[in-house]
Amino acid sequence: MTWVSFFQQIMNGVSLGSLYALLAIGYTLVYGILGFINFAHGDVFMLGAYFSFFMIGVFLLPWWLGVIIGVALCAIVGMSIERIAYRPLRDAPRISALITAVGVSFFIENLGLVTVGARPKGFPRPELMKNVYILAGARIQGVTFWVPIISVSVLLVLLYLVYRTKMGMAMRAVSKDMETTRLMGVDIDRIILYTFALGSALAGIGGVLWACKYPQINPLMGTFPGWKAFTAAVVGGIGNVVGAMVGGFIIGLTEIMIVAFFPGLSGYRDAFVFTILIIFLLVKPSGILGETLKEKV
């Protein structure tokens, strides 16, 4: 393997990893606050790609506007899911919330299959992503570095929102101790809605960028990235925003590197992530940056 192609693979890994990171944050935020896996998160990611596809391809909006509307719609969908399906179950046993989440996920996927069909659609990419640049002798397509640049900037904005704003402080407080936060006069329901909006918007951005990288979209495209992103959240330490990002990059880089070094195993690339998950659960279940939680009696 030459240095140039090695560099290209690193770029690929970083760009895939940054997409996993975008998705993983949504999982980790919801898990941190409500304590269950939001299985529908991967499907919101898929919706992000489809909403933008329709805004650009059918309503003929300019690319940037279509994406903004698509991402906003994702945020609305995320808030609606919380309001309609999850809020009534907040005091129910956790298994009920999990089953509901699986139901919501299956609903979105099958509604997608029924309305737009299973056949993949070509995603309209902007010129910016399609241009080919020549860097140190290597031909690099725009997506290869625009995707990580955009997603890393989004991640930085998110870090600012979570660690430097009042809303972010409230979110962190709710995830530490919901009851005490309520007593401090924080409107819990509003914070949770905001969390879902934020997570879903990130998933939407992730979906659009994913579609730029792999421009074939279908209603089931969110399942695997969603599951891998959750694995990334576990690897980084569930509930920890920075951890989710670290986990995302680890999973993305590992996946790309294994395929790059052992091309014969590329059919099994999804199985490696599973192996990483099992290893982490065996060796360090609290994840890289997670705190060990003690259950209170």
């Binding site: 269950f36 896996i37 299985f39 399906a85 009534p88 179950l89 129910a92 046993p93 956790r94 298994i95 009920s96 999990l98 089953i99 509901t100 699986v102 139901g103 919501v104 299956f106 609903f107 099958n110 509604l111 299959l113 029924v114 399942t223 695997f224 599951w227 959750f230 694995t231 576990v234 569930i238 059919g267 099994y268 999804d270 199985a271 992530v273 599973f274 998950l277 099992i278 659960l281 065996l282 279940p285 939680l293 259950e295 009696v297």
Partner: protein, 353 residues
């Protein structure tokens, strides 16, 4: 054995005799379509009761039954496929040793089913060890991944699974005798287990892990055993399924299968074994009825095109609505017992007087 227990056992054996009589009548008089639905319903019973053991009784959320069913299904298919058929099916790449050198004759079908179940149980053990030691929902995410990984392996490990083409021409050994017997005995066994001290420990874990541990229940060992047993019966159900429809391919045991089972156990009541039995039958028939919804409908001069896939949309809405408004399901965590039936009959007689 107490008087009531003895009575229950006799009634259960009587029920078994009636069922066997029913099967011999059904085999003779029912049409193949109805028999197919009944077979499917019985296989759903085996899989759903096993699934309820880990999800409903033990309270550990697993999403893996499709993976276990796939393992059981492929194991039975590879063991039972005749040698001639093996050469024809594996034309892309030959089947690996030792499976290319032998094939089970029909009288070893039961053994093949057991081996299919054991293979699935082994997989459950391997997933259970890292995940069930931990608190929280790691089992859900690991089993969900596992189901997908099995699909990946089935598609890619061509010398064993024949890839996306799958395996065709598996002898159709499964009939009502097999399915009804497996359904009956798996319910009998799991219900007996649930009523034992082991089963009570499982329920204690579901209600409160910390309290259960304080009472001296070994959480890990109980969860693991429940999960492995659940994997075993799921594997057997997979084996029955592939020998019913005589083919197996990666698309057979997708997440949809797990979802169907989830609907069944939620509808019947998480934690009610007998509830799952009832809803497995309801579901098998409901699925056939809803098939009509997907077919084109002609009313007068208008023809409405059918929407394939609409069933799953209906089922997923049903699941979410039930979780929000009717979480108990039909039976909650109550079981249909002989005592209950006897009380009902007596109660009705008294009110009639």
């Amino acid at each position: 054995m107490g008087r009531e227990e003895k009575r229950d056992l006799i009634l259960t054996l009587l029920l078994f005799a009636v069922l066997m009589l029913g099967v011999s009548l059904a085999e003779r008089y029912l049409n193949t379509y109805l028999i197919r639905i009944l077979n499917t319903a019985c296989i759903y019973v085996v899989a759903a009761v096993a699934y309820n053991l880990i999800n409903g009784i033990t309270g550990q959320f697993s999403l893996g039954p499709n993976g276990f069913m796939a393992i059981g299904g492929y194991t039975v298919a590879i063991l039972m496929l005749p040698l001639v058929q093996k050469e024809q099916v594996y034309f892309l790449q030959p089947l690996i040793w030792p499976f290319n050198s032998f094939s089970f004759p029909s009288h070893l079908f039961l053994l093949a089913l057991f081996l299919g179940g054991l293979a699935a149980a082994l997989a459950a053990l391997l997933i259970g060890i890292p995940t069930l030691r931990l608190r929280g929902d790691y089992l859900a995410i690991a089993t969900f991944g596992f189901g997908e990984i099995i699909n990946v392996l089935a598609n890619n490990f061509i010398p064993l699974t024949n890839g996306a083409l799958g395996i065709k021409g598996i002898p159709e050994y499964t009939n009502l005798w097999w399915t009804v017997n497996w359904a009956f005995w798996s319910v009998f066994m799991i219900k007996g287990l649930v009523n034992s001290s082991f089963g009570r420990a499982l329920k204690a874990i579901r209600e409160n892990e910390v309290a259960a541990e304080a009472m001296g229940v070994n959480l890990f060992r109980h969860k693991l055993l429940s999960f492995v047993l659940s994997g075993f019966f799921a594997g057997v159900a997979g084996g029955l399924f592939v020998t019913l429809i005589s083919t197996v391919s990666p698309s057979l045991f997708t997440f949809t299968m797990t979802f169907n089972l989830l609907i069944i156990i939620v509808l019947g009541g998480l934690g009610s074994i007998t509830g799952s039995v009832v809803t497995a039958f309801i579901f098998a028939f409901l699925q056939e009825i809803l098939r009509e919804v997907e077919a084109p409908i002609t009313i007068g001069a208008w023809t409405f095109p059918g929407i394939p896939g609409m069933r799953m949309v209906v089922f997923s809405v049903l699941l979410v609505v039930m979780m929000i408004f009717y979480r108990r399901g039909l039976f909650g965590d109550k079981e249909i017992s002989w005592q209950l039936i006897i009380d009902r009959i007596k109660g009705r007689n008294e009110s009639e007087k």
